[in-house]
């Protein structure tokens, strides 16, 4: 019978018997966390669905006031970041120390660009007075009695993109930590779980945006033009 309490190392925590068990547990843990995230954003999607179905016309007008070109470009940037994240995971599987760092930095860069563009878009909303809850709120092309419903759209817009951006910021923090660790050579072909699970998280945040983009920017746009 094996000793019940082996000594702990960085790559194998004391509660686990084997590295495979540890990797399995970490991956499962991240997947379950992502399920909780789906439920978290799910509440927002439910809110969106209810109000979109109640006020389709106003939502179409409000939706078309968003800049779909910028939105599409930003979607592309985010997809690129997912690609470089995958490459970082691949590099760690192959044990290419330098490439891990390079791809993580590229991911960080693309994530940063996305957040910068998002900040620009938010700023535009302030300039256009599309901020819910402010007396100056006005959306062109919507009757006075519909202005409240337009505010609902922008409430949902800010809540959804804001919480998505918050997840991106957390992701940036994770990437920074990984970069520091990767530079110390902590990851190898036999131990790269942190890069792997961080990748899962990063892709998840990406996928949320893949849903947000059409829901907020694209649906019913053609009805307005």
């Amino acid at each position: 019978m094996a000793d019940h309490a082996p000594t702990e190392t960085f790559a194998l925590r004391v509660q686990f018997d084997t590295e495979a068990q540890q990797k399995d547990a970490s991956t499962l843990g991240m997947w379950i966390f992502l399920v909780t995230e789906i439920m978290f954003f799910g509440g927002l999607f439910a809110v969106y669905t209810v109000y979109r179905s109640w006020y389709p016309d106003v939502f179409a007008i409000a939706s078309s006031s968003l800049n779909e070109i910028i939105g599409a470009l930003n979607t592309g940037v985010l997809l690129l970041s997912s690609f470089t994240m995958v490459m970082a995971v691949r590099a760690s599987q192959l044990g290419q120390q330098k490439m891990i760092v390079i791809f993580l930095i590229l991911t960080l860069l693309f994530g940063g660009i996305f957040l910068g563009v998002k900040a620009y878009e938010w700023n535009q909303k302030f300039e256009e007075h599309h901020i819910p809850g402010q007396a100056a709120f006005h959306l062109d092309g919507v009757l006075p009695e519909g202005q409240g419903h337009a505010q609902l759209f922008f409430s949902i817009y800010f809540a959804m993109t804001g919480l998505h951006a918050l997840h991106m910021v957390i992701g940036v923090g994770i990437l920074l930590t990984l970069i520091v660790q990767a530079r110390k050579g902590r990851f190898s072909a036999s131990y790269y779980t942190p890069v792997d699970v961080a990748g899962l998280y990063w892709h998840f945040v990406d996928i949320i945006w893949i849903f947000l983009f059409p829901l907020l920017y694209l649906i019913d746009r053609h009805l307005v033009k």
């Binding site: 019940h4 547990a25 909780t36 439920m39 978290f40 799910g42 439910a46 209810v50 006020y55 409240g148």
Partner: protein, 541 residues
């Protein structure tokens, strides 16, 4: 005095010393004890609010506190008891301590995350306590909009933020348990050899993981609306306050099962141990936990029968609510069948467990009353509902918690509690509980609304009875507090297996060593294998 025999062996309590060894511990057993101390504090704070409520209701006039203060009292009683005591109670204390041991693991899968969960609960509790000390909150624990977003002057944000943070404690605990159960079982510990306590925690964790994030996002929206005037639930802009209720109850109804499923897990262990019989219908009891968890997500609309929800939706939710009775009844009948022809002994954990069965049955059956559309119209927001959910949450969840605390106390501390006092406490709590809450069924049926500090004089007799019962109940809760602490020093040293129970936790020393077992256990039998245990005893005897 600690005897020499107890001193010899190194265990998780004497392996290291000092505050740091506790506040930075990664040991699931120590974290369990940290939770125990924390939620006991929250329980007595919540209890203090309940005391003030019951004293106020002694007289019909409302002469102790103003109606504003009364609103704050019942709000803070609910917030403390639900989010900071009942939700963490059994999972965070007993589950934390025993789930890894029961499946033969050294610890949970993520010990640091486990410690973080405890800190989150403490920080969340501090936020809510701050709100209470600063001036309180008066929205009710349900935070219904638009009152909570627009009109209330209370400390809504601080309280809600506290609940939000504590919610992540709950999510991470559930996540930790699920991964641990999937990946950390000892050799031979197959899914259908797991103790039912573990199955109950698996089901509970599913709810924590799937439900709590929805509450979190609902609180975020509430926060955004109150602070940044976002307007998701604002009727003036076409928003719908009923949507808040849907989102809120999507979590908060399943939350009831977060409270009661672990208690059912405890009862399954205790009934089997003190009947010296394998649980009747193991598979049914295991799956009934999971099906309660699943069905629990389909019934939230029965909280909205009078909120302007469509009649069709009301009928569907009413219909679905009845389905919860099926797995609940399976459990109760299987426990009863386990008792049948068992050799029953009435030690304290068993008394509490039997109390659970009686009170939970009452709470469950009255749940059917309020799930019926017609009856619910009559009793909504009356004391009938208050009595119903206290039978589930106090009569069910807390009785189960007390049962488990007594059952495992010898293992956790290495000391026996005084049996006679403990049996008396079980009796006092059972009687006090019924005296407190049974009159409330009648009050509610007669039409006394909840959440008012004034009431018509004809209700006074029943209210005085209820308050008298609450006093008895308070004594009942203080007794274990005193004799548990007493037992730490003066209790008899506990043997490895004081109850002659099966289960891995009874195969390791009391208290267990740091890594739970000296050698990784190998499981060769089903759970509750009392048949072969008794046969061995006969051979040896």
């Amino acid at each position: 005095m600690i005897t020499a025999a107890a001193q010899e062996r190194e265990n998780y309590l004497n392996a290291s010393h000092g505050l740091k060894s506790w506040f930075l511990t990664k040991d699931h057993k120590r974290i369990g004890l940290l939770y125990l101390a924390t939620i006991t504090l929250f329980f007595f704070i919540g209890g203090a609010f309940a005391t003030l409520i019951r004293v106020e209701l002694l007289t019909p006039q409302g002469n102790l506190v103003s109606s504003e203060t009364y609103n704050k009292l019942f709000t803070m009683h609910g917030v403390m008891m639900i989010f900071f005591f009942l939700i963490p109670s059994i999972p965070a204390v007993l589950g934390n301590f025993f789930l890894p041991i029961m499946i033969g693991a050294r610890d949970l899968a993520f010990p640091k995350l486990n410690l973080l969960s405890w800190y989150l609960l403490v920080v969340g509790g501090m936020f809510s306590l701050y709100a209470m000390l600063a001036g309180g909150v008066d929205t009710g624990w349900t935070f219904y909009t638009p009152y909570s977003t627009t009109y209330s002057n209370g400390y809504v944000i601080a309280t809600a933020l506290g609940i939000f943070i504590a919610g992540f404690s709950s999510i991470l605990t559930g996540l930790n348990f699920i991964v641990t159960i999937h990946r950390m079982r000892a050799p031979g510990m197959t899914w259908f050899r797991m103790p039912l306590f573990v199955w109950a925690h698996y089901a509970t964790s599913l709810i924590q993981v799937l439900g709590t994030p929805v509450l979190a996002v609902t609180i975020v929206l509430l926060f955004l609306e109150r602070v940044f005037h976002l307007g998701i639930f604002d009727p003036a802009r076409g928003g719908d306050p009923v949507l808040f209720q849907h989102l809120f109850w999507f979590y908060s109804h399943p939350a009831v099962y977060i409270m009661v499923l672990p208690a059912m897990g405890v009862v399954s262990e205790v009934i089997s141990t003190f009947s010296r019989k394998a649980i009747f219908g193991y598979g049914f009891v295991a799956f009934s936990s999971v099906s309660i968890a699943v069905l629990g997500f389909l019934v939230w609309g029965h909280h909205l029968f009078v909120s302007g929800q469509s009649l069709f939706a009301g009928m569907v939710f009413s219909f679905l609510s009845y389905f919860v009775a099926i797995p609940s009844a399976i459990k109760v009948f299987n426990w009863t069948a386990t008792l049948y022809k068992g050799s029953i002994s009435f030690q304290t954990p068993m008394l509490y467990a039997l109390g659970f069965i009686g009170l939970f049955t009452m709470g469950g059956l009255t749940g059917l009353f309020v799930a019926a559309l017609g009856i619910d119209m009559h009793v909504t927001d009356t004391y009938f509902v208050v009595a119903h959910f206290h039978y589930i949450m106090v009569g069910g969840a807390i009785m189960g918690y007390m049962s488990g605390l007594h059952y495992w106390w010898p293992k956790m501390t290495g000391r026996m509690y005084p049996e006679a006092w403990a049996r008396l406490s079980a009796l006092v709590i059972f009687l006090g509980f019924n005296l407190t809450f049974f009159p409330q069924f009648i009050l509610g049926y007669l039409g006394m609304p909840r959440r008012y500090h004034l009431y018509p004089p004809e209700f006074q007799v029943l209210n005085v009875l209820s308050t008298a019962g609450a006093s008895v109940l308070a004594v009942g809760y203080l007794m274990p507090m005193i004799y548990f602490i007493w037992s730490l020093r003066y209790g008899k040293v506990a043997p490895v297996n004081p109850w002659g129970a099966t289960g891995l936790e009874w195969k390791t020393s009391s208290p267990p060593p740091v890594h739970n077992f000296d050698e990784t256990p190998v499981v060769t039998h089903d759970a509750y294998d009392y048949a072969s245990l008794m046969a061995e005893e006969v051979e040896v005897g």
